[in-house]
């Protein structure tokens, strides 16, 4: 079963235009709020009731996050995080290019609810040729219709939205690093607390939400209370986009109710390539622990089920590996990424990610020892929980889970100086 929320306009003729969006009830929720002068607290209450959880990776309750904004007057900001860069994740890029107005409407409603007069959508630099152009066009079209800007639809509400572009840095997807980047600095995460809702962009209260989260808002507001909740299951309310990639026949984005069996999702993606056997799955972007294929086949795609299987739902980037995948090489590749993307601020992450990568490089080049495998575990343990942001944990979790689930394969590589699968 597919539910079209963020993906509603996907596959339509000219999916990104204002006309297509409006023909599909677009901006109706926003117009209702403006025309009825809906109290902010009611908007926040409805999002809280929906159970909507952040779709960027952490899965934090969106309505609860909004409610942290101080009720005092003064400048506040909304930031949409379109710095999609968690390896295995490619959903926001499709929302940006096929349904940009859903993001804009979501940003408007969120800005209204938290009392922000300015909102920024920060897109990763690599989106500059396609998604950024489309999103800027959508913004300009919505401005012309007076859906954004000064005195929106002749009301006394003023909200300005802007599109920003990054320049290549995974770490900027971390919310406080993104604030630094918007301030024109290197993307180095800030120590929390204070949380951005209290002290964010330019020191002002700021809410940062993921693209998919914000694009989900209009339909939630448009429908009856309880509708969104009813689509998913307890504690994993609503729907989620899963990006299916790797060894599968039909890679793509699938927006499905939370709680559906992984096996069903795999079927939607055409099953394993060339009829091979499933070996492993990274269910939520490369930061989360890897799960063995046979275990994954029994798991449902919701926060609790995946957590019981020892991993996390994360960003919804599902990387599927068949029996031909060399787990040592895959981990080596993952480690290179985190080593390169560590901002260098915290010693355990800066040094530790380098050690992990160097040791794994040694192993794949045939110079590894048994002791190296234990050393990898020790280093990962020492990074985890010892840094300002989650990048260090994101580097450590794959290492520990790959070793735990595929120890014999690592031992084989060290002993025979070649991969077990090639």
């Amino acid at each position: 079963m597919t539910i079209k929320l963020c993906t509603e306009t996907f596959g339509m003729q000219e999916p990104d235009t204002l006309k297509t969006y409006i023909d599909n009830q677009g901006y109706q929720a926003w117009k209702d709020i403006i025309n009825n002068q809906t109290p902010k607290s009611k908007v926040i209450e409805k999002i809280k009731d929906s159970g909507l959880r952040g779709k960027g990776g952490a899965g934090f309750l969106t309505g609860l996050k909004w409610s942290f904004i101080p009720l005092i007057d003064g400048q506040k900001y909304l930031v949409c995080n379109s710095d999609e860069s968690e390896p295995g994740t490619c959903k926001d890029r499709d929302i940006l290019r096929y349904n940009p107005h859903a993001i804009i409407e979501g940003m408007l409603i969120a800005s209204y609810a938290i009392g922000a007069s300015v909102g920024y959508n920060y897109l990763r630099g690599e989106f500059m040729d396609e998604q950024w152009k489309i999103f800027k066009q959508a913004l300009s079209d919505a401005y012309k219709e007076r859906l954004i800007g000064k005195n929106i639809l002749s009301s006394n509400v003023t909200i300005n939205l802007h599109a920003l572009i990054g320049a290549g840095a995974y770490i900027v997807g971390e919310e406080t690093a993104m604030l630094e980047s918007i301030e024109g600095k290197r993307g180095m995460p800030r120590i929390k607390p204070p949380f951005p809702a209290i002290k964010g962009l330019y020191g002002k209260p700021t809410i940062i939400n993921n693209t998919e989260t914000l694009a989900s808002i209009p339909k939630i507001m448009l429908n009856k209370s309880g509708w969104y909740k009813s689509l998913g299951i307890d504690n994993s309310e609503g729907v989620k986009m899963f990006c299916m990639s790797g060894h599968i026949n039909n890679p793509g984005n699938f927006e499905v109710p939370l709680g559906i069996p992984f096996s069903e999702l795999l079927n939607m993606a055409g099953g394993i390539l060339n009829g091979k056997k499933i070996k492993a799955v990274i269910p939520g972007g490369s930061s989360v622990p890897v799960v063995k294929g046979d275990i994954m086949m029994q798991v449902n795609m919701d926060y609790d089920s995946i957590s019981e299987a020892g991993s996390m739902l994360g960003s919804g980037g599902v990387i599927v590996m068949d029996e031909s995948a060399c787990m040592v090489s895959v981990l080596h590749r993952i480690s290179r990424f985190y080593y390169s993307e560590s901002c260098g601020q915290c010693t355990p992450c800066r040094e530790g990610t380098g050690w992990l990568y160097k040791i794994l490089t040694n192993i794949v080049s045939g110079h590894g020892t048994q002791n190296d495998l234990h050393q990898l575990e020790r280093i990962a343990t020492q990074i985890e929980g010892h840094c300002i942001c989650a990048l260090g944990d994101a580097a450590a979790m794959p290492v520990r889970s790959f070793l735990k689930n595929f120890w014999t394969e690592f031992e084989y590589y060290v002993d025979k100086k070649e991969s077990m699968v090639s």
Binding site: G168, A169, G184, S245, I282, A325, S329
Partner: protein
Amino acid sequence: MSQEFKISKELASLIDNVVKKFPSNRKRSAVIESLLILQHDNHGYVTKDIIKALSNYLSVSEIDIYEVATFYTMINVAPVGKNVIAVCNNVSCMLRGSDEILTHIEQKLKIKVGESTSDNKFYLKDEIECLAACNGGPMMQINHKNYENLTLERVDKILEKFDDN
């Protein structure tokens, strides 16, 4: 021939549009996009003179701009080839054969990742980030435009298109 770089009227108006997105006392916020604009106008990289000019224009110290220029991988502080190729070889693409694509391009262009061709036509960026097109892997970007579901034959055809420019 170190000549002082002057931000042209055209470039200045582009930068002014960036500045306008932010509060009036927050010009520093415009640094990243301004660097991309200036780089685009200068064969894909920024020089110390360009950074100096931007520093004066935005009233942000040179070192603050240089820090940004060297932190973000899409900003180059040294000359690079005219067309920038970035082959995604993160996990999803790797599983679909991106390593073969990358090796093929290296051999075809007779360069290694991180190098530019001797005729300066191509720069093969050492792309480590995932380019967020996992369902189209293997994929690459040339000048930030996506080319997905690559095969070696498709890569050859795509690169040929750049022969006459």
